[in-house]
């Protein structure tokens, strides 16, 4: 003989008016039995909509005829239902099981890492390839105007020397990949020191200090070939797309879209190439040098000198050819440059 469950008290609404009547509930033979002063009904459990258990909220029951029942004490009702063989959906059990929640968190973190490390670079490459040339040109022109106003001074290099270097650059044979039509600009680097940088439209800026630092033209060409690698692989645009995507995601997640204001322009103008972009540009430079009968070692030579401490007169301070190593950087890139030099020499 099965002991009957103690009845659970609830509020019943008939669905036609908002009047509440107190009732007691019990479950017998797969049926929900509801008894009150002016109501008594039996309904098969299978025909009712039993809301899922949910934290401290009351359990709600909807009847097929629109009637509604509210069970404040879900704990006792849950026991009664479980005894009648009712099972909650898997998801419901997971939501309140600490191990399942923890596992979800770990999996979410894994998804986030995967999206950032694998998906985003691929999407950014696709999107960068579709950026129209006019847009790339506008971004580049704005950036160079800003740098001219704030950083660079006019070049003091003789015009003949500038033209000679430009000619050697334009005459470089480009074997593979999209052909880049480089346009060379000379500037006095000032606080930027010996450096070179590439803009998405194919504009390559070389500082007088870099030209002075080079022992021969091949070294300069090595640096320029590296910058052409950045242009041909669209690194500037890819970086801007990647960092603004991260910015949009973070702003959306935190729930404040105004943070975007800060992130996007900063990402565009900083042009701080990531490790893998430097590596790709080095490979591009090495191929270009070899194809044109020069050794990739020249690039390694000048890289080494740019990395050398400021005793030599010109320490490379900003990214461009040598990776960033100014004190504002939050991770040192010296080991990275050493590794790049070794890699170039090994070719």
């Amino acid at each position: 003989m099965e002991s009957p469950d103690p009845a659970v008290s609830a509020l019943y609404f008939n669905g036609r008016s908002s009047r509440a009547s107190p009732v007691s509930l019990s479950v017998a033979n797969g049926e929900l039995v509801l008894r009150g002063d002016d109501v008594e009904r039996r309904d098969a459990l299978a025909e009712l909509r039993l809301s899922e258990p949910l934290g401290r909220s009351p359990r709600l029951i909807s009847f097929p005829d629109g009637a509604h029942c509210e069970v404040p004490d879900d704990a006792s009702f849950r026991v009664m239902l479980a005894r009648s063989g009712h099972r909650d959906a898997h998801v419901v059990r997971w939501q309140f099981a600490p191990t399942a929640v923890l596992a979800s968190l770990v999996a979410l973190a894994a998804c986030l890492v995967l999206a950032h490390e694998w998906l985003l670079p691929r999407v950014a490459r696709q999107v960068a390839a579709r950026v129209p040339a006019e847009l790339a040109k506008r971004v580049s022109d704005e950036t160079i105007a800003m740098l001219d106003a704030n950083v660079f001074g006019p070049s003091q290099l003789p015009l003949a020397r500038q033209q000679a270097l430009s000619a050697r650059l334009v005459n470089l044979k480009q074997a593979d990949g999209p052909v880049v039509l480089p346009q060379l600009l000379f500037r006095h680097g000032r606080s930027m020191g010996a450096n070179a940088l590439a803009l998405p439209s194919g504009l390559i800026v070389v500082t007088d200090e870099l030209v002075a630092l080079a022992r021969n033209d091949e070294e300069i060409l090595g640096v320029l070939a590296h910058e052409m690698g950045h242009v041909s692989q669209r690194h500037g645009l890819r970086l801007a797309i990647e960092s603004s995507a991260v910015g949009v995601f973070a702003a959306w997640y935190i729930g404040d879209l105004s943070a975007l204001l800060a992130g996007v322009p900063a990402a565009l103008s900083q042009a701080r190439y990531s490790r893998r972009f430097e590596r790709e540009a080095d490979d591009h430079a090495a191929r270009l040098m070899t194809d044109n009968g020069m050794s990739a070692g020249h690039l390694a030579d000048i890289l080494e000198r740019m990395e050398a401490p400021a005793g030599a007169g010109q320490g490379a301070d900003r990214d461009g050819v040598a990776s960033a190593s100014s004190p504002t950087d939050y991770f040192s890139t010296h080991p990275l440059t050493d590794e790049r030099i070794r890699h170039l020499r090994a070719r």
């Binding site: 949910l54 401290r56 709600l60 509604h68 729930g255």
Partner: protein, 357 residues
């Protein structure tokens, strides 16, 4: 900023006001959030419809008034239908944008023409699937009015260079709240245009002040950093970014919470349902404090605080509302079947399009 705070402290204790009570707990919501987010990602977004239903259930069922909870009846498949439609429309626009500009323009016009109708369906869906004490809410707003609110007035905002924005907010709130009904009883929304205009006027003045202040700071920062030669360019950029961020935060803390608080109070204090009235006493300062601490919480917990933050904001906004009953809450009556059919409430043809209204 004091001007925002005048209405918040006039709570009279001697009425039989029925407060809205929200009993949801962060630790319960956290599990729901984590499991449902993961399932949504693993199913490439399809599960999001089910996740939304669970989320709505959590918020509705933890909200109670006079000892009875609210209930949500939306079906995941209806939500999935709406989301699929929205996705297809978005894709249609994306694809057409890559072809001829004229094609893209035509697709855009078609989408704009359909959107008010979709938003109307969405409002119907949401109200129809909300219930309290076994009675459904109903949205009785007309489709023609939806075109005025969602297409006509936004165009007017463009033409008037933003001056009509408060007018639109007013029309939207009156349409949304004033066209709703609970069973056979209709909500009345007595919201004055002047009040909404006053709120946005003050907000506009504060926003201009904040912008001027940050621009001034920015100017000083740039001047100072340029006077130092070494590393000037990085400093200028950092400064620019920092100032834009500061301006954004300032708007977020000094303007948005106060506007949200005052609009919510204005809408609910002017709302009535038969003999019953409502009162909302959201404080802009408190809302700004919650916004700021939520932001810090999310950042320093590496994102894990987000469900708690969402819950906290919702709890505050809900619990600021109370009902001033003008009679017995047992006296509401459901619409008859014939009335339901007359206003097109057959749930079969319903679907939900997500809108942040």
């Amino acid at each position: 900023m004091r001007i925002f705070l005048t209405s918040s402290c006039m709570m009279d204790k001697n009425t039989n006001a029925l407060p809205v009570v929200f009993s949801g707990q962060g630790r319960d919501y956290f599990g729901i959030w984590a499991v449902n987010l993961l399932l949504t990602i693993l199913t490439l977004g399809i599960y999001s419809a089910w996740a939304k239903v669970r989320r709505m259930h959590f918020f509705y069922r933890h909200t109670s008034l006079a000892g009875a909870a609210f209930d949500y009846h939306g079906e995941p498949l209806s939500i999935l239908k709406g989301r699929t439609l929205a996705f297809l429309m978005f894709m249609a626009y994306q694809i057409s944008a890559e072809t001829e500009p004229i094609v893209a323009a035509i697709v855009f016009v078609i989408l704009m023409a359909v959107m008010p109708w979709l938003l109307h369906r969405s409002l119907c869906f949401r109200m129809h699937n909300s219930s309290y004490r076994g009675l459904r809410f109903v949205f009785r707003g007309g489709v023609r009015q939806a075109y005025v609110v969602f297409l006509g007035l936004p165009l007017l905002i463009l033409i008037s260079l933003g001056l009509a924005f408060p007018l639109w907010v007013h029309a939207l709130k009156v349409y949304q709240y004033g066209s709703s009904a609970f069973g056979r009883s209709e909500f009345q929304c007595a919201l004055s245009r002047a009040e909404i205009y006053r709120i946005y006027l003050v907000a506009g003045v504060v926003a201009i002040g904040v912008t001027l202040a940050t621009t001034l700071l920015l100017g000083l920062g740039v001047a100072e950093s340029l006077s130092m030669d070494e590393g000037a360019e990085t400093r200028v950029l950092t400064m620019l970014g920092g100032m834009a961020l500061l301006a954004g935060f300032a708007m977020m803390l000094c303007v948005a919470p106060f506007v949200a608080a005052r609009v919510q109070n204005a809408v609910w204090n002017g709302l009535s349902l038969g003999p019953h009235r409502f009162r909302s006493v959201v404080s802009g300062r408190r809302l700004a404090f919650i916004t700021l601490t939520n932001l810090l919480g999310v950042i320093f917990s590496l994102g894990l605080y987000r469900p708690f933050a969402e819950l906290r904001l919702m709890k505050y906004r809900l619990q600021s509302i109370s009902m001033l009953p003008g009679g017995d809450l047992d006296d509401f009556v459901a619409l008859a079947e014939a009335d339901l059919a007359a206003i097109g409430e057959e749930s079969a043809e319903m679907f939900d399009v997500d809108v942040g209204l």
